[in-house]
């Protein structure tokens, strides 16, 4: 086995309990400077509003905090450790200079309500980012307020609703393909729409003929991910846009897969009315274990009057935030949005400049290289050309009783993070692989070798694959009990005596 697995080997991993279990009265990890004003008696000042105790709060020293979280960190996989081929997630390298600039004094320290003449630096950052994103997408106006992709979707749909309302009828339905991210239908519901799920054709693409029958006066919009979650470009996208527009509906594009298009094609040119970007995908802001992200929304001119307030405007060489837009949908988040994330995204774009096209090309090349090298051993359910990601199925391994989740877990033993499993829903047993441009040929080759080796194991030693992972500090977790009897917090009274983490 040692020969088969090249990227990783076993290593000592420190045990660590919960921080609450390390607590001892009187310890603390942070000293405050002494107060320079007269002390007050909090209890008598606040009376019945005063808090008497902070039951259950940890008391630990600085080194205990450092060790605790450092030990925890070593239990994580991360891009910094290797390829993270999660399809649809675009896990690319997160440049460290972006972290540095987001923390500068004068950037991190600024308050959203400070006078705008003392915030010109922040506002210039926003205006420049907005200009860059408009150029990359070929759209005409933007808001940077949404905190994540899903909030971008909601914002976009609210813009569509406001626009259609201004035309007299907000309509009732939003069409969502069966290959779409779950956020699409969930966002449509909050925007007050019914969701109609539409089936993809036998190539996994939008069924234009079907669409002709479905798009009625009730349809407000179609939400399209392009390239689709199969990693393929929708070849008839312009026709789809035309069809929608002819019937008064709007085309929404989920920009989750923009890493296949940046610098190569502008969605604004193929009929998209509104779209969002995931800056934590295409524009490399770190995922941080689940967030923060940012989901700017880009629109065509006819939707501009409805953008969330405030809107960036330029007046006499100064940039200002204009809070007054009579037709605005309002605000989707307090303050301006995840500014620190926007700073990092701008740093990413400025580091590439027009060279962003090369990043896209490299991402697509990597995906196709992996596809070519794995298509003999894994089933490719849809043969349309791949862009930045490739979707296989576990069809050939299933006859040995091995499914996509087993292969994914076995990949962990080989030192890789799994690809995306079981998505998109239109591919039963999907293996969705997105390498991004960050990976070298050497890393891609190691991955290919691992995937080929697992395919062999699936045939020769299926149990080995089915019981993976074997080398992690915990084995497969009992998710059923976790959901049936949820334990969502530590409690003093139910404290398990376990000291081994």
């Amino acid at each position: 086995m040692a020969d088969r697995i090249k990227k990783a080997r076993r290593n000592i991993s420190q045990n660590e309990g919960l921080i609450f279990e390390k607590s001892a009265p009187g310890k603390r990890g942070m000293e405050l400077p002494p107060s320079d004003v007269p002390p007050v008696d909090v209890q008598s000042l606040l009376g019945s509003y005063a808090r008497t105790d902070l039951e259950g709060f940890p008391e630990v020293s600085e080194i205990e905090v450092i060790r605790h979280f450092t030990r925890l960190s070593t239990w994580n996989y991360a891009i910094d450790l290797g390829m993270y081929p999660l399809g649809s997630c675009t896990m690319k390298y997160n440049p460290r200079v972006n972290e540095h600039v987001a923390r500068l004094e004068g950037i991190a320290t600024e308050h959203p309500y400070q006078p705008q003449q003392l915030a010109q630096g922040c506002l210039k950052i926003l205006a420049t980012l907005q200009r860059c994103l408009l150029e990359i997408t070929g759209m005409e106006a933007a808001t940077l307020q949404p905190a994540a992709g899903a909030q971008g979707e909601l914002t976009g749909l609210l813009l569509i609703r406001a626009y259609l309302q201004s035309q007299g009828n907000p309509r009732k339905k939003v069409l969502v393909p069966d290959s779409a991210h779950g956020t699409n239908p969930a966002s449509a519901v909050i925007a007050g729409y019914e969701v109609e799920n539409i089936r993809s054709d036998n190539r996994g693409q939008i069924d234009v003929e079907q669409l002709r029958n479905i798009v009625t006066e009730d349809v407000a919009a179609l939400m399209v991910t392009n390239p689709s979650t199969l990693g393929t470009f929708e070849p008839r996208i312009a026709e789809v846009a035309e069809l929608l527009h002819a019937r008064g509906a709007q085309l929404y594009m989920d920009g989750a897969n923009m890493n296949a298009l940046a610098g190569v094609a502008q969605p604004g040119r193929f009929g998209v009315d509104v779209m969002h970007l995931n800056l934590h995908k295409t524009f490399s802001t770190p995922h941080g274990g689940g967030g923060p992200g940012a989901g700017p929304v880009l629109v065509k001119k006819h939707l501009e009057p409805f953008l969330p307030v405030p809107v960036l405007v330029e007046r006499n060489g100064q940039i200002a935030l204009d809070p007054v837009r009579p037709q605005s949908i309002g605000k989707v988040r307090a303050f301006g949005g995840n500014f620190g994330v926007l700073v990092r995204a701008l740093a990413y774009i400025l580091a590439y400049g027009p060279g962003i096209r090369q990043a896209t090309e490299d991402a697509v090349l990597n995906a196709n290289y992996i596809r070519k090298n794995l298509e003999e051993v894994y089933d490719l359910p849809y043969s349309a050309p791949s862009m930045h990601e490739v979707v296989f199925s576990d069809n050939r391994q299933k006859k040995f009783g091995v499914n996509t989740m087993d292969i994914a877990k076995r990949l962990i033993d080989y030192g890789f993070h799994p690809y995306t499993t079981a998505f998109p829903l239109i591919v039963p047993g999907a293996l969705m692989i997105e390498p991004t441009e960050s990976e070298s040929k050497e890393e891609c080759d190691l991955f290919i070798e691992a995937m080929r080796s697992i395919a062999e194991e699936a045939a020769s030693e299926p149990e080995l694959v089915k019981s993976a992972p074997h080398h992690t500090r915990v084995g497969r977790l009992d998710e059923v009990t976790a959901a049936r009897k949820p334990v969502l917090r530590w409690k003093r009274d139910t404290d398990s005596k376990e000291t081994v983490g």
Binding site: F20, L32, R51, T52, L54, E55, V65, F69, L72, N76, L81, E99, A102, R103, G106, I107, E110, H111, P112, Q114, L118, Q120, C132, E135, I136, Q151, G182, A186, I190, T232, V264, A265, Q266, F270, G288, G289, G290, P292, A334, G336, N338, F339, V343, L350, Y352, G353, P354, R357, N368, R371, K372, K409, H417, G475, L477, D478, P486, R489, S496, E498
Partner: protein, 435 residues
């Protein structure tokens, strides 16, 4: 690599994009910058901001001490560059940290369960109200006028298309919600009563009484908290049904509005109506303790249009910042921090009230910010203060026309006595000059 793919050129790889949609030129973007140039660019932008100014702004975004330890942990690549912990076996670090965050959020708020984070305080508050609507199946919400105006705007944007109705409940001379008006408005169609405490004016609300009134109508009491440090000294809203907490004060820089982390804490019986991710404790196949994301059937990737929320990406790294920061502070540190904030606010209030024609607007108990009435427009005073490199109180008039000439002053442990005295002196000088 290109040869291996069988394509003849990179162009070939994009063959599925119709020719007419392929960009035939370079993107019109600024020229590529090296690391040194990038740093210079952002330093130049920083210099165009407020470096060197003393600020008395709060209003939902607070400047507190942050330890370098927090950033040291956040910058560990294993936290910074990992994805959502769906693959539990290689995400135990993130999962355990979330579990600890959920526990801290419960301890802080006096609630029974908490989620893994929301986008910020405003969206957490909004989702808390939507949650109350699902639980009670009622659509009428009473909202205190003293809730942060931007939080209310976000709530309005979200709820506008969901057939909900809102009624505003005013405040009394204490700055607290008008309990009488609340009692008169609440009825058996009321889903929730939403208050913020400390509220937008910095005044602590009588949560116990509000919850009692809500309970009388079988409505839920939803409490938003924008200043988490207050919980080191102020009684937690244990009587509330749902609490939406902004954790920015715990280790997150103001950063011109974000990223921060909101969190929803609630009673255990409402678990299945919670939005967002949850980390739960379980065991692995050898009986060892471990953690995994759980109750995912509430979420969009499983439930799609019937999910409790559309949230997917949350604010995990910000929640980690709060967790590390709170562990560093510990019990004593948080109590001391809260006491210092109260002391600074009392000192600043006394200094300002020494000035002729300047007095506090509300009598109710405050934490670290308070509303002050000036004898002239705050806007005019602030323009003068800028000359002394002071960013003065937030004018309340634009949000509350009835509070023209009132400003919101915020001081924290980072505000020095000397800065407060300088503010008072500068205001005195300004007021001495006739308009």
């Amino acid at each position: 690599m290109l040869d291996a793919t069988g394509a003849r050129s990179i162009r070939d790889l994009f063959g599925s994009i119709p020719e007419e949609f392929r960009l035939q030129r370079d993107l019109d973007l600024p020229a590529a910058m090296s690391e040194a140039e990038l740093i210079r660019y952002f330093r130049e932008r920083a210099a165009e901001n407020s470096v060197g100014y003393t600020s008395f702004l709060g209003a939902g975004v607070y400047n507190h001490l942050r330890s370098v330890v927090t950033d040291t942990i956040l910058l560990r690549g294993e936290f910074l560059t990992s994805y959502t912990p769906y693959q539990a076996e290689i995400s135990q670090g993130t999962l355990q940290a979330i579990f600890e965050f959920q526990t801290l959020a419960c301890e802080l708020t006096g609630q029974e369960v908490a989620n893994a984070s929301m986008w910020d305080g405003s969206t957490a508050t909004t989702e808390a109200v939507l949650m109350a609507e699902r639980i009670t199946r009622r659509r009428r919400v009473l909202v205190a006028r003293s809730v942060h105006p931007e939080y209310r705007q976000v709530l309005d944007t979200y709820a506008r298309n969901l057939n909900m109705s809102f009624e505003e409940i005013g405040y009394t001379p204490t700055g607290q919600i008008d309990l009488e008006a609340l009692g008169a408005s609440i009825n058996n169609e009321t889903a929730a009563v939403l208050v913020q405490s400390p509220n937008f004016f910095g005044v602590i609300e009588p949560v116990q009484q509000i919850a009692l009134i809500a309970r009388g109508a079988e409505a839920l009491a939803v409490v938003a908290i924008a200043e988490g440090v207050s919980l080191g000294a102020v009684r937690p809203p244990a009587e509330a049904d749902i609490v939406a907490l902004e954790t920015q004060s715990f280790g997150m820089a103001p950063s011109f509005g974000g990223p921060y982390a909101g969190v929803i804490a609630a009673r255990e019986k409402y678990i299945r109506q919670l939005p967002g991710r949850l980390a739960g404790q379980t065991t692995d196949n050898q009986g060892r303790r471990g953690f995994c994301l759980t109750l995912a059937t509430r979420e969009q990737h499983i439930r799609r249009e019937r999910a409790t929320s559309n949230i997917c990406t949350n604010q995990a790294l910000c929640a980690l910042a709060a967790t590390v920061h709170l562990c560093l502070l510990g019990k004593q540190g948080l109590q001391e921090l809260a006491a210092q904030n109260i002391a600074k606010a009392q000192f600043a209030l006394a200094e300002l009230e020494k000035l002729p024609g300047v007095h506090r607007v509300f009598r109710g108990p405050v934490f670290n910010e308070f509303a002050v009435q000036f004898p002239r427009a705050v806007r005019l005073i602030n323009a003068q203060l800028l000359r002394d490199k002071i960013i003065g109180p937030l004018p309340l008039g634009p949000y509350y026309p009835e509070l023209a000439k009132c400003g919101l002053v915020c001081v924290t442990e980072t505000t020095t006595r000397e800065q407060i005295e300088r503010l008072a002196e500068a205001v005195r000088e300004t007021l001495a000059v006739p308009v």
